[in-house]
Symmetry: C2
């Protein structure tokens, strides 16, 4: 997002998010640090306290989507988010994997976690899914899907596959500059894949909301 | 390691590690699960309790090296390991990064954490460091080191760079089969890099131990 070193501002109505664009506000523990290299050396309870503050004390305004990016795992952060937002009805989880079995083994646990805490799963994204050499245009599976990748896992577990995002050096370059890869590489296969995934998530959420309205 | 679905055995002298080879024993929370897909949905205190048990109640026998693989971050797992092993003198931390600035931003925090808890840093490994296309043999920087990669960061922070490991599809394939990549791809550049890194870690540890003996 290119926001390293940014600081949070306090207003009468709470903490203000840092705005990347008019319609994209961000909140991060990084904004509370004295220096960008400072580590946040906190055990679970302090992390949970901050998550609660980010949900309750930030002046988010009217938002269409609130996206929470969690670390891998099924621990404090994940439990707290689900618990604190339980009354608001979370649309669901987007789960990201890479194609190898060793990643799928962890992702199956994440899926199991979602089932246990009754969090709907919007779908799975397969990241780092193949690489087309810019020199010879031939594709390599750098992280080979030895057991069928996300596609097979999603079939087996009856979960939607939202899409596959190929490796592309421009993604890392755009991120490092804090620029939007989707604007900088408009026609790349990875951009098309991202846009398709976004559209499927939107459709899922809109469908859920129209169902809810009918039920009300 | 190819140990998914393995179970831990209890003996008179504690839990027994699962042995991959005669000289390589492993302990993992995965061995305590009913099913390989079960999630370990634990908050910090339960995780800390298990870490303590793994250090205290496992019959490790005489070991040359005890390697603890932690998740990313600077939270419960990292604090507990350092705290529980403080009396034994930890040789140090090996920190793994990828070449992009966005990864280095996190790794600088890990380095800061080590300084704060007085944990020596053996060095930094740069993983996913370039990819040689198997079709045309030309190299691509899939995760471009836009700010100089681990090399520049290590110079700036006065930390050793232990080596760079290139991307190689055979690594993922070997891992998924639970086979040793170092045995299966003896002459690959990644194997040479791994062996070089291992040697540098060994030398560091041996040097530390001989210094300690002199001090006694």
């Amino acid at each position: 997002m290119g926001l390293e070193g940014e600081q949070v501002h306090q207003s009468g109505s709470g903490w203000s998010p840092v705005y990347v664009e008019e319609n994209l506000g961000v909140m991060s523990v990084g904004f509370l640090l004295g220096s960008p290299d400072d580590a946040v050396i906190w055990r679970g309870p302090k992390k949970n306290g901050l998550i609660k503050q980010f949900l309750r004390d930030v002046d988010w305004g009217e938002v269409d989507y609130l996206i929470v990016d969690t670390p891998p795992g099924t621990s404090d952060e994940h439990l707290s988010i689900v618990q604190y937002l339980s009354a608001t009805h979370i649309d669901g989880a987007v789960i990201v994997t890479t194609p190898q079995e060793i990643s799928l083994q962890d992702v199956r646990k994440e899926i199991n976690f979602c089932h246990k805490v009754k969090l709907p799963i919007i779908g799975v994204v397969e990241n780092m899914s193949g690489f087309v050499c810019p020199k010879c245009k031939k594709e390599s599976q750098i992280f080979p899907p030895t057991t069928g990748g996300a596609e097979k896992m999603c079939q087996n577990l009856n979960v939607s596959l939202l899409g596959k995002v190929p490796l592309d050096p421009q993604i890392g370059r755009s991120c490092d500059r804090g620029q939007s890869f989707l604007s900088e590489a408009r026609d790349s296969p990875a951009t098309l894949s991202y846009r398709n995934i976004i559209q499927r998530i939107q459709e899922y959420c809109e469908q859920q909301h129209s169902l809810e309205e009918k039920m009300i």
